[in-house]
Subunit: 195 residues, 2 copies
DNA sequence: GCGGTTATTGACCGTTCGGTCCACAATAAG
DNA sequence: CTTATTGTGGACCGAACGGTCAATAACCGC
């Protein structure tokens, strides 16, 4: 019984996310957000609140998509260990120059923004659990040594993956990045446990 | 034959660096820089140029110190492999909540600032070489398998280290961080090579 | 002490920032 | 068609931004 919205909320969140991803939070102005979304200030504020809330919405939608995609990838793989390897090597296929939005945001705002820090912490924990489940499956499938704590190995894998993504950000050439990812995958996902 | 400076350039760079480290580049205003340095705008601009140049100076002085400290640590260690292990576990001892200034800057500005990106690339390469030398020494000392390419292993170690630092940023508790760092060290620095 | 030179300070500039507000447009219900 | 309700767009705001500049202060060689 009133005027309907002329935009799709999800679509706006996506374009806005791209902007924050490219430029970071502080370096993105409201004018930038208006330009990429095609909305006026009034609409933006009425729909999402202020810049900070809009950013958090975009960030949350990002991590939700990442988690959904990760769960799907890990679940669909015939062998869990291959999915884990793919996880470590994924940063190579994707153009990784922009890095991970969550990681970028944590680096930029982690010191000053408790909400972002809290979200980062939660996201990291969830990701670890998802990877941990996959590690456990790989153990059941006999591809990883059974004695290792799945969550512990999951954390090592996730840390290594973040390191690879960051390495890609610095402009390391793709061949070197590939070799490093493979090397880490070999050492973290070998069938025998460490002495 | 003129008025001498009332401040020490290095000291100003240090305090300014702390500010950029805490708040990031964009979120640090000239007023912040004046406050922490105790200098007026004019002095700041006369001595260092604009905000961006001052930032680059502070960033360069940071990486120089890091490299000097890293070289010293790796050179002074009786056994190279212990120094490498220490490198991976170092993020735990240091309060790592702020992360690494170079990594933070790369994440915030890597997309938009070619100078920062270039500096990040160079820094990463140099760090890899320093670690690579230490890996080679560990091989000569019989603590690492001889067949491995030192530079390749160095990149894996550095990526893992960056991942650990980032993990610390997200607020993971110190015990978990310790365990993860040890786990990665065990797997990357074991005496036998991967199958 | 004097003159030349550089450092310091803070007033000042135009611009851009995030955010508010209001006149107007578009819809649905009656 | 009228009316109530919500969405839209842009004018507008005060504050803060990065940066400039001129007046003043402090020093060195002479």
């Amino acid at each position: 019984m009133a005027r309907p919205r002329a935009f799709d909320e999800k679509q706006v969140l996506n374009t806005v996310r791209e902007q924050f991803w490219d430029a970071g939070y502080a370096a993105t102005s409201l004018e930038d957000l208006m330009r990429v979304s095609g909305l006026g200030k009034g609409s933006l504020y009425a729909a999402f609140g202020d810049k900070h809330q809009l950013f958090l919405r975009a960030l949350r939608s990002y991590t939700e998509e990442i988690h959904a995609s990760l769960r799907r990838t890990l679940a669909e793989a015939p062998r869990a260990v291959d999915a884990l390897r793919e996880l470590l090597e994924a940063p190579i296929h994707a153009r990784v120059r922009r890095g991970c939005l969550m990681a970028n945001s944590t680096c930029e705002l982690g010191n000053a923004d408790p909400e972002v820090l809290d979200h980062a912490h939660r996201t990291y924990e969830t990701t670890t659990e998802v990877i941990g489940d996959c590690v456990a499956r790989a153990q059941r499938e006999g591809d990883l040594p059974a004695g290792v704590d799945p969550m512990a190995l999951a954390r090592a894998i996730l840390a290594a993956q973040q390191g690879i993504v960051f390495m890609g950000r610095t402009g390391v050439d793709s061949a070197t990045l590939t070799a490093t990812a493979r090397s880490l995958a070999d050492q973290l996902l070998s069938a025998r446990s460490v002495d």
